[in-house]
Amino acid sequence: MQAELVDIRNHMAQYPPFDEMTEELLDRVVGDIEVVYFKAGSQILELGDPSSWLFYVRSGAVEIYRRTGELYNRISEGEVFGQFGLLMNRKVRFPAKALEDTLLYKIPYDTFQYLWENDDNFADFVEIEDRSRLRSAVSRREKSNELMTSKVTRLISREPVMAPCTVRLQEAARIMTENGVSALLLMDEEGEKPRLQGIITDRDLRTRALSEALASETPISEIMSEDLITIRSNMFIFEAMLTMLHNNVHHLPVMDGDEVRGVIALSDIVKYESQSSLYLVSNIYHQQDVKGLKKISLDVRDSFVRMVNEDANSHMIGSAMAGIGRSFTQRLLELGEEKFGPPPVPYCFMALGSMARDEQLVVTDQDNAMILDDSFVPEAHDEYFRALAKFVSDGLAECGYSYCTGDIMATNQKWRQPLSVWKGYFTDWIENPKAEALLNSNIFFDLDGIYGETEFAEQLKALVAEKASNSQRFLAMMARNALNRTPPIGFFRTFVLEEDGKQQKTFNLKRRGTAPLSDLIRIHALACKSRAQNSFERLKAIGNTKLLMEDDLGNLRDALEFISIVRIRHQALAIEAGREPDNNVRPEDLSPFERSHLKDAFQVVNNAQKFLRFRYNAQVARNV
């Protein structure tokens, strides 16, 4: 390169992938460039032409099309195009047209090839599969958080402390004290090998033994917890954290097959993440009234921001926020029952929507319902449940979970019904699907029992799983509704670029990103009879069938993670700046990294929506 060309080199050095290129390599690129000018409206590349250049936009703007003629992208100064043809069969795959008067730097194929072989960053950037770029963006981020890279075995500091489940209360307490542990594993020693049967914790001893003044000779098997929640030894610490949050347990036995490797406690994880969301959760249970809960709720946003700054992934943050929301609800129900007395008939308090999916963030309203036992008699019992529902709903509103604008709350009599009525609702939605009605009841297909007879909620999940997969009309209607919201194509300068070429100043990352994704994942999950509620869990369940290919699943997972994390980060930044967080994003608020990967993610959503339409034979969707 002639030294006098430094002006050209400096321009390119501002933009990826040239910004990370060695000076020597970039000099070589500049020395090989051919410059060419195109008038606005003129064709730069025709479909099927031989492809021999990578194009760099020095000034102006270019539109890239699909072979079908649909707009694929609009790019401006500092961006490249033409790589697809170079990487594939040396034929132009995406025609290009000058949108404005445009000056292009053409990089010859040989130079492109040389860069591709000698500069990994360049190769990654122009790689034909945009998805792999998304993959590395997601994993690079996840690698930076210790909770996501360390296995739970790291937290095990000692051999597990165990006793046969035939021991007596006093003996169990003595073993725990001697060994200085807060939980004792109880083993069934009848078989060939001892098998984990139950657990007893400090808290159990206090709440179940002492408060009831049980005799010291009481068999421990009478008060131990059974049907334990455990985790496998190859899981990551953050998965242990999610498990604790979701199930509200403070101890987790770590298993290698049937064998117990150790026990990890809430306090072990809190050490990793001081002032953690888990800590906040345990604090919620210590509050004695709504006032106390309201005070604590002010810490929720801090906890959220901290997790974002510690590079937690969206699954972790979503679960933590849902866990916190769930805990507020549970504690309010406990306080409500203290106030109004025990329930006249069994009931289940149910979370709906994002809380049920473990995908809650800080900007959220309350969506909940009550399933009552079938022995419920409205005249005799409803007054109680109405009062309890109102107490919880008002309490949640105090704690920052605003009332649901669509009135999907247990305070609404329609959503406070016996199990048999609920079964009727779901059966009707599924067997007599109407698009409009389903649009409103979509939220009920993310449900989770969080208090009381959670078995009721499980029965509903089972019913949905069984019936939904058999109703093609239901799936088609759901798919049609899911296609109502589409992602934008990408970004152009400070605008959001829409499919029809229109440009917007801002867009809603929830409505145009995460919601379309969780909608389509839900439908696939229903089609394969999954009872999972969380989108990542649903993807796993879908993966167990052959409904989607492995690659497509990975792409959906990465897209959901990336869009979610941008949305989360956007909200955290607002909170830190003292602004009220929302879901509206302006392109100029996004980093170049976020812009290019968001575009990749939107592409994944777009393809997934096309597949959804085809798979469920969903009719033409209306636009947003």
Binding site: M1, Q2, A3, E4, L5, V6, D7, I8, V30, G31, D32, I33, E34, V35, V36, Y37, F38, K39, S42, R58, S59, G60, E100, D101, T102, L103, K106
Partner: protein, 242 residues
């Protein structure tokens, strides 16, 4: 270009390709002989098929008879591409003292010039680019006349060639660029045909640096833009050269 140059005036009225042939016969200097022998495209050649060379000189002043060339930038191109791989830039030692004002303009220092070759030493290389290409400049009175004078000094004979002048094209496009007093009163602004200002009208980017090479590239880009906006790929080269 001085019309009182060597050779009969009748030669100068020939069309360019024939003129090149005649000058190739007359020329004593092997360098110039080779230049004319490499030929000139026929006047009917479409501009899209013409091989061009954008050239820019930085000089110590505006008068070829009094001032000298300080640096030369050039880049070969066609309508389809400006080949940076063949871009060249030389600093040459002027025959005459460097004027202080020019020094600040070009950013070329006395020590650059002390180490620089005389133009004569690079003539061979310069002509390897020039041969077979039509020069493109912004304001032909600099490059053509300075080269002519410089060659008379060193080779004992001057040079003749057609040029494409991007400034002349702009002047042609804006015949009323200097508004009358009356028009000025009505708010009409004069249209500048300087290189940087002309480029703005075509959406071409601003270059921060100023050196002969960047200006040569800027000129080549401007010509590409002028052709696609106001002419066509099929425009005859004879409609554009001067």
């Amino acid at each position: 270009m001085s019309d009182a140059s060597s050779g009969e005036p009748s030669v100068h009225s020939l069309p360019w390709p024939e003129q090149y042939q005649a000058l190739a016969q007359q020329s004593k200097s092997p360098i110039l002989k080779a230049f004319y022998e490499s030929g000139c495209p026929s006047p009917d050649t479409p501009i899209s098929e013409v091989r061009m060379l954008a050239i820019d000189f930085e000089t110590t002043g505006l008068d070829a008879s009094q001032h000298s060339i300080v640096s030369i930038g050039l880049v070969p191109f066609t309508l389809d591409g400006i080949q940076l791989s063949q871009a060249k830039h030389w600093v040459v030692r002027p025959k005459l003292p460097l004027h202080q004002t020019s020094v600040t303009i070009h950013g070329i220092t006395h020590s650059d010039i002390d180490e620089a070759p005389d133009l004569e030493e690079i003539l061979g290389e310069l002509f390897s680019y020039l041969n077979g290409r039509i020069p493109v400049v912004h304001y032909r009175n600099i490059e053509r006349s300075f080269l002519d004078v410089a060659l008379r000094w060193r080779l004992g004979e001057g040079i003749r060639f057609p040029v494409l002048d991007t400034m002349a094209i702009e002047a042609h496009l804006h015949p009323d660029r200097n508004p009358s007093r009356w028009q000025r009163l009505m708010g009409k602004k004069p249209v500048s045909i300087r290189l940087a200002d002309s480029r703005l009208r075509y959406g071409l980017p601003h270059y921060a640096a100023h050196n002969a090479l960047i200006d040569a590239i800027a000129t080549a880009e401007l010509l590409q833009a002028q052709i696609v906006h106001h002419f066509s790929r099929d425009t005859r080269v004879a409609d554009l050269w001067l």
